[in-house]
Amino acid sequence: MRRRRFLPTLLLMWVGVLAVLLASLCLGRYPVAPKTVLQVLISRFAPIARTWDPTVETVVWQVRLPRALAAALVGAALSSGGAVFQGLFHNPLVSPYVLGVSSGAGFGAAVAILLGASAAITQASAFATGAVAVSLTWLIARSGRDRSHVTLVLAGFVVGSLFASLVAGAQYVADPSTKLPQIVFWLMGSLASVQWADLLRGTLIVVPCLLGVTGLRWKLNILSMGDDEARSLGENPWAMRVILVGLTTMATASSVALSGVIGWVGLVVPHLARGIVGPDSRKLIPASIALGAVYMMLIDDVARTLTMGEIPLGVLTGIIGAPIFALLLRQNRSDWN
């Protein structure tokens, strides 16, 4: 594999993040010129003459900016989460979702929607049940004699199935004309209704978690050597795994609370990142965060501009993600053996 210098690559990725962010603010049913977008943004912090229609301001500042930032946040959380889990479990097919967090959070959201709760309560409920689901997975895995990865993944499968059944139950009793579409749309993922307040709540949890994971990324390399070797390299693999899984799960649960369930991102983006910067977690984690933000903003742009209506994000990430993933598997097979 050719080795590029890492810092310029990462810098380029962050330039990409800003470029895509700017594009996301311009694109839409109501196109705004990049220059006007910049002026609107600057006018928030500096007194400059307002030469544009107030509608433009609403579209850019109240609708598109929180939505694009939320997309970036969710993409960064899901992608880095995938990279962390793949390192911890030495498996290309895992993401934080394997521990049952998505079905758990889905159930919490479905119940809140059934009860007619506000958006904030729905998010809180999704976060809480997502966390409960992972804790349950953890307890089941710990109660077994075998504390291997496989036990944890199987426990996650059990808990995920349980909550999937509960979600199906909630859908069955939901009013088909009002509540059911809401639940279904949420389960397929959407950022359409994101407000600044939602974004702020998400940021307060996701950003500290991402900083924590970034700070511990070297330990991921050590843990990927397997538990025995990690131990002889002076690490306590079980404790370090608890911390990393905990941080990743918190970030994932709060992004699921923000955007609903969006699959595939945590699988596809770390693979892309690995292809660019290599497998070293010291580079992979920062690259996954930046690329995840770019990827999710682009997906969300497609979701809201491709048709007259909104396409659910989960549908798009699946349609785009599956072929990309298949292609990556074909090309980079050697990465995994």
């Binding site: 990927s224 397997g226 131990r231 002889s232 390299l233 497998p279 070293d280 053996n337």
Partner: protein
């Protein structure tokens, strides 16, 4: 106290069991700096378990293990890994890390929780790679190496730990004839040059005969003989150890162990 200064690894009355199954019992031995101590025994004799107790991956049921006079029980995992480095018998690569990144992982015991390896750590890792002659492949993915090269990479990682005790579990298990001798003579050189205390398990007593300073014969979890290769690796002892007739042939200076003929 005299003994502590000399014997870096000091094992007294060691016992270990998985549940009810006793694996090691009443095992007492010591290994000193600049020596290669080989543990010879049949499969399932408890050789690997012994190494894992010295690494403190396993906790002994009875007895004590001291490194430089310090009881392992009183040391943290990080402290142990600064004193004893190990090369595993088999390694399943997870990701195609570059050779230099794998060697750099040996610096982990010297890094704090949130720390990354710095310039000094890189220098130590490069030194280790140069010493083992693998600096030329530093940027190659370690998943594409031959068995002998991989063994040298893992050995370099252990050297980067800068521990004075080096533990090797059947270092030649998957190697061809040439690589086997390359790896073992490298280990011998390191013991002398770096003043390391090397403890290794071997499955072929010939490896111990040629490359060890002292040998311990392990059978059913206990030490049945201890001494120099010439003293310990006799036809008699080996015959009892493996339960088969064994001959030791010699050309006057060197000795070779071969299966014996019934007569």
């Amino acid at each position: 106290m005299e003994q502590f200064r000399l014997s870096v690894v000091d094992i007294q009355d060691l016992g270990f069991a998985y549940g009810e199954a006793t694996v090691l019992h009443d095992l007492t031995m010591a290994a000193v700096p600049r020596e290669v101590f080989a543990i010879v025994g049949p499969n399932a004799a408890g050789k690997t378990t012994l190494l894992r107790c010295i690494e403190r991956i396993l906790t002994p049921r009875t007895g004590t293990i001291r490194i430089d006079g310090r009881d392992l029980k009183s040391l943290s995992a990080r402290d142990v890994s600064r004193r004893a480095a190990s090369v595993p018998q088999s390694h399943a690569p997870a990701f195609p890390y570059a050779v230099q990144d794998v060697v750099l992982m040996g610096r982990n015991p010297h890094l704090g929780v949130g720390a990354q390896p710095g310039a000094h750590d890189v220098a130590v890792a490069q030194e280790a790679m140069k010493e083992l002659g693998i600096y030329g492949i530093a940027t190659r993915p370690y998943t594409q190496l031959s068995g002998g090269q991989l063994q040298l990479v893992l050995l370099a990682r252990a050297l980067a730990q800068e521990a004075h005790v080096l533990l090797l579990d059947e270092p030649t298990a998957h190697l061809d004839f040439r690589n086997r001798h390359l790896v073992l003579s490298t280990i011998r050189d390191l013991a002398v040059r770096r003043g390391l205390t090397v403890i290794m398990t071997v499955h072929d007593p010939n490896d111990a005969m040629q490359y060890a300073d002292r040998v311990g014969l392990v059978s059913d979890g206990g030490l049945i003989a201890l001494g120099t290769p010439d003293e310990v690796l006799t036809a008699d002892n080996l015959g009892r150890l493996y339960g088969m007739p064994i001959d030791v042939l010699t050309d006057g200076t060197r000795r070779v162990i071969v299966p014996g003929t019934d007569s």
